[in-house]
Subunit: 418 residues, 2 copies
């Protein structure tokens, strides 16, 4: 071949699941497979007014090159939005929070570096880290988040959670760095709120214990929070970063509370990391579109999110309830289980023993309904029975029809494979 | 330290030159240091209309997630704009052409890979490639572009240019790959049109000879063309990629013909590379803002660029002439030399022997005028006497005043250092 590819390019392959999902894009399919927010929630008219105002007031500046850090006004608005004291100087505006993951990977991952993730975890993060060639390890997780026994085991510490040793053990662990088999992980990647794919949230107790452990052990955290504002009844507990800002990088996004098509996200990084992330940002795309930053900064004025986000919460809660109702009704008598997320866009289900979600998908598509097999979201040891259902884009009627069709397909195949 | 950085993060440092240039941002300074297009050329009203139309016609789609490849309509428009037959399937829309450089680096550069560049070359490309840890080598260049003797020497081939051997020699060279000292370069990065920083263009003869050589030797090219449309009297010769599409990646941008604040660029890649670049793109930021793509697609309709770009050419030509006049007038009697670019935004000058542009800059800033020391733009063996002057953002009066001040500073220091 004329071109010699970088070694890391071998890690860049189209996801098998993505290929499978192409069949779900057929017209007429009721899709619970998407990861898209409901377009009903996009404040189109407010954007139109903001675009017009930004171009009228200072169009030439809005269309010029800008600083890599981001628009100062937007960085201040982001800092003020967050539920702990954040210096705007620690805010880096990114081209979607996906770019935050790319920058974190570039700055923190060497080929062969260990990175810990929840089980399951966000597929896009695995893809963002992959070009930097980490060894990604899934930490066993339950409905409250990552299991701290498994985490401590992965770190080579076998004491009970909460009994974590002080600095001396951290030093001992660092010495073990010389032995590749005991290489200390560069960070753990976590999504504490209404996680994609499962919709689960970390309990207050788990958050407190996790932060307690990672502080003592010196394990950095990368906290991703695209869904935290989409709670249904009560806000989630405080972010991990709020409890331990020096040891965490925090990623946020406007994709779920405003609109994803603007690609606006942000990173909050401690002073020890910010300059390197900034350099990586400058090299990656110079800066996030200045026009988009000004438009969103304009939209955010006068507490627009304070009025807008409650409407998204109400819609998504009704959508979740419609799906829970449909599941209760149609899965009756089947050994199918699902959770009841308190926010976000996704619900996690598990097929009867013997069934495989990847194998079931083509049959479901034949009956006009689609989902994402959960196996897509595991770094290792995938659960073949799991599947992700988005409840936010289908209508209540489609949810009824789609879940009924899914139940029928499961019923048909349940006997076969058991 | 709590955080362990990736090895590549050592390569991510603020540019010394960028730090120096901070002093040039003082109010009242006449700056020829900027790399910004003139905001006078931004079609603000046309953008405002396009934003309104896109949001009115199909706002929800414009604000939703979109395909990583880019908006199909925009990919078709880009393909149709280019002066050789391009399949829209080979067009990847990027978040500015800077992102194209980042993706090329990720897909083609291993740590220690050799990358060839012109002398001097675009600083942003060096920064984009740096995190992938290449060994960058400057190929000696003259006013017509890279010197082919130097190129052939770098490739370990000592025959005359044009006498390049056929495939057998390429095989011999590939065998030498096993010897790190003879590692074949992954690609050569070239800016054939009105290059940043020098403003020079590659002659037709040099283009033909370069393509002839790289085809025979199997050296891939990365062709960056942000300024090609900004010619003053006659269009530049055909791009290198037009002559050898299978062996070239082509990077283009809307930053200089429309506005940089939208961050819209594109890559045209051969089928052997496109899927890997696409995967890297998806991991980097999922997709370029769909709203921006739709707005620019709307702006491009009815040959808007055909009417708009000639106005930029006329403005920049008048600006260049103003600077050439000022230089002739004020540098009289000084051993200062400069070129006469046929397009683009920059002019390249050389101080009298013994003077150093980095050392001169603070004195120039004291007199109220700024430039970029040329040393910023070299991969190696910088010419300390060179400097870059942007002629597009200052007014004709500022150009007169600024060049007069610069001449005065040179005159004052000429005796001292010689």
């Amino acid at each position: 071949m004329y071109w010699t590819l970088a070694h890391r390019a071998q890690k860049m392959n189209p996801s098998v699941i993505r290929e499978i999902l192409k069949v779900t894009e057929r017209p007429g399919i009721i899709s619970f497979a998407g990861g898209l927010p409901s377009p009903k929630t996009f404040p189109v008219e407010v954007f139109a007014q903001a675009c017009a105002k930004v171009l009228r007031d200072d169009g030439r500046s809005a269309l010029q090159y800008a600083a890599s850090e981001g628009l100062p006004a937007l960085r201040e608005q982001v800092a003020a939005m967050l539920p702990w004291p954040v210096d705007p100087a620690q805010v880096l505006i990114t081209t979607g929070s996906q770019q935050g993951l790319d920058l974190v990977g570039k700055v923190l991952i060497d080929p062969g570096s260990r990175v810990l993730v929840e089980t399951p975890t966000y597929l896009g993060a695995l893809q963002a880290f992959a070009p930097m060639e980490p060894v990604v390890e899934g930490i066993a997780s339950d409905e409250h988040g990552p299991d701290l026994h498994s985490l401590r085991h992965a770190l080579g510490v076998d004491a009970e959670p909460g009994d974590a040793p002080q600095a001396p053990e951290r030093r001992r662990l660092l010495q073990l760095d010389l032995d590749p088999a005991h290489d200390f992980p560069r960070f753990m990647y976590v999504l504490p709120n209404f996680q994609n794919p499962t919709g689960r949230s970390m309990s207050e107790q788990r958050r407190a214990a996790l932060v307690h452990d990672v502080q003592r052990l010196g394990l950095p955290l990368v906290e991703d929070n695209p869904y935290g504002d989409l709670w249904f009844d009560v806000p989630p507990p405080a972010p991990l970063t709020a409890r331990h800002p020096e040891g965490c990088v925090y990623l946020g996004s406007f994709s779920k509370v405003l609109a994803p098509g603007l690609r606006l996200g942000f990173v909050v990084a401690p002073p020890a990391l910010y300059p390197k992330l900034l350099q990586a940002k400058q090299a990656a795309d110079l800066h996030t579109p200045s026009f988009n930053q000004r438009v969103v900064s304009e939209v955010l004025k006068d507490d627009f999110l304070g009025r807008h986000v409650p409407t998204i919460r109400a819609l998504y809660k009704a959508q979740r309830d419609a799906m829970l109702d449909a599941l209760s009704q149609h899965m009756h008598g089947l050994d199918v289980h699902w959770n009841q997320p308190d926010g976000g866009m996704f619900l996690w289900a598990r097929l009867p023993p013997g069934l495989n979600a990847i194998e079931l998908l083509p049959h479901a598509v034949e009956k006009g309904v689609a989902f994402v097999p959960g196996a897509a979201f595991y770094a290792d040891h995938a659960d073949p029975r799991s599947l992700r259902l988005s409840f936010v884009t289908a209508t209540a009627e489609q949810i009824q029809t789609g879940i009924a069709a899914l139940a029928e397909v499961i019923r048909q195949h349940d006997g076969h494979s058991a």
